[in-house]
Symmetry: C2
């Protein structure tokens, strides 16, 4: 498990090397949602590498021992964690290998290579890609940087909560609700841990796509489950398993996990563009999508924070989402 102090340590560790991303108010977009919440968007699409993943990757890689640095790191990712690891490894002078599914977003593959990582395209899904990454860990002696189920990665992601909390205080406001997307649960694990101590009355909700609802399934099963297939436009939320760390945090500190269809996610991308001029990738628009279809309970007139977790989307994919 992690605690608020771990999240604070992470924030101190990565300060000055990742952006303090802006919180944007979005009146028009909020008015389009049932209950017309007052909407505050935490813009991690403006983060280094275009998603919150840089935070956890840097917090992890920056703490490797000299012996671990010499071995190099390996990870598996649909793309954002790959970019975060590639970027953080380059900054640390560490060799990085990232395994991505064959169908990974071209933009994410190219960006990961651009940050200097060796990209291995393998398998039809994250499940097969993960297996290959574990093989490389064993064969080549790489240090495996888990995309979510690692205390340092989750604590780094949790620094989003510290910033958001302080930024709300700075404008004299307090959130009633915060909505966080769930892939494997690193982001919500870190953030819910922080908020549980910072603001115990805050209602925290998670959002998952119907085609990759591993946390919802885990809650229903009473233990973390692994899925045999995932199918969603939100590639960043397609983790086939809920992390054990996140599962415990969610059970304790998250009000509910909400499952929404892909068309709500696509609507989120479109309406963010039109009403806020912000580019979100599908994963980053999921919370807005959930609010647009009224899936988040009791938000009428409330101050609702959403994490726009990333903005890395191929232009071809974006063009399809527009229609």
């Amino acid at each position: 498990m992690i605690r608020l102090s771990d999240v604070q340590d992470a924030r101190d560790r990565i300060a000055g090397r990742v952006h303090v991303t802006p919180v944007v108010t979005a009146t028009l977009l909020g008015e389009r949602m049932p209950g017309a919440p007052r909407l505050f968007i935490k813009c991690e699409n403006f983060q280094k590498t275009g998603s919150f993943k840089s935070r956890g990757a840097l917090n992890k890689i920056d703490r490797l021992t000299d012996e671990e640095r010499a071995r190099g790191v390996v990870t598996v990712s649909a793309g954002n964690h790959a970019q975060g690891v590639a970027w953080a490894a380059r900054a640390a002078g560490v060799r990085a290998t990232v395994v991505m599914p064959e169908a990974a977003s071209r933009a994410k593959v190219e960006a990961s290579r651009g940050y200097g990582a060796e990209v291995v395209l393998h398998g039809k899904s994250s499940i097969e890609a993960l297996a290959r990454a574990r093989e490389l860990e064993a064969e080549r002696g790489f240090v495996f940087v888990h995309p979510f189920d690692d205390p340092l990665v989750a604590a780094g992601a949790g620094s989003v909560a510290l910033e958001l909390h302080e930024q709300m205080q700075a404008i004299g406001e307090q959130l009633d609700v915060v909505v966080i997307p769930i892939g494997g649960g690193g982001l919500i694990g870190g953030m819910a841990t922080a908020f549980a101590e910072l603001q115990p009355g805050l209602r925290v909700y998670g959002v998952e796509p119907e085609g990759a609802a591993s946390m919802r399934g885990s809650l229903d099963a009473g233990q973390p489950i692994k899925m045999t297939c995932v199918n969603t436009i939100a590639d960043g939320l397609g983790a086939p398993a809920a992390g054990a760390l996140a599962f415990e945090v969610v059970k304790r500190s998250v009000r509910d996990v909400i499952v929404i269809p892909d068309d709500a996610i696509a609507r989120g991308v479109r309406e963010l563009l039109v009403y806020t001029k912000l580019l979100a990738e599908p994963s980053g628009a999921a919370c807005v999508g959930a609010l647009l279809i009224g899936a988040v309970p009791d938000v009428a007139g409330k101050n609702v924070g959403v994490v726009l977790s990333g903005g890395n989307v191929d232009l071809g994919t974006l063009a399809k989402l527009m229609s």
Copy 2:
């Protein structure tokens, strides 16, 4: 003519009712431009109504006499000035009629109606729409709010320069170059007026699309010209004439007016999305497009400011620009 003091008066008048929009640094995007300038983007796409036009419209309408308020206002616009006038008029309790060309962006038409204006769709171009607006002025006694060639409108737009200048000072930086899009010239007229006194050594460039280069043509002719046809994807830059006010300012205070093809503008839209996650409409991406094709002289390693003037674009249009 207007002076810096007029721009300062405008800023004081509209303060608290328009946004102080952020200035975003864009390292990756700057690195893609010849000379790799250090890029600072003034984000007027986050402005009220989605473009800088709210500033000038509010500065103008807020100063109408009671008699003028009772008459109501009329204007002509491809869309952004229409929204600005509709929004400012509603805030002032003044009736607004906006004439837009029949082919105007549906999003801009709907938004103008959403702010309470009566929208008259008329003519194939801004030229025909302008004629209809002038008829309505005469027939119905409306006060005509010129989209650019009005000292109060230009002074309001010029407040962008005051903010940008102060925001750069606040981060301990100074611009070497600023690049500003030109439609009829209200924005560059106001901004260049302000910068000429605030920072006399700053190099100011204007950018126009090939199919609507009215300011370039006016400079070449030695006097403001009117064009008989315009043809560009940048609907906000399609004014068929250079304003007399802007013409004088540009002659005196602008280093050069650069003309670029539409495909450079489309590239600007795409690369802003990919590398900064910001949605610009074509007009708002023109300056970035000019820098991407190397059309702005002597920017190597320089601090270059660009005005992202607006973000109002139909999703259908955006989808076409993606491919």
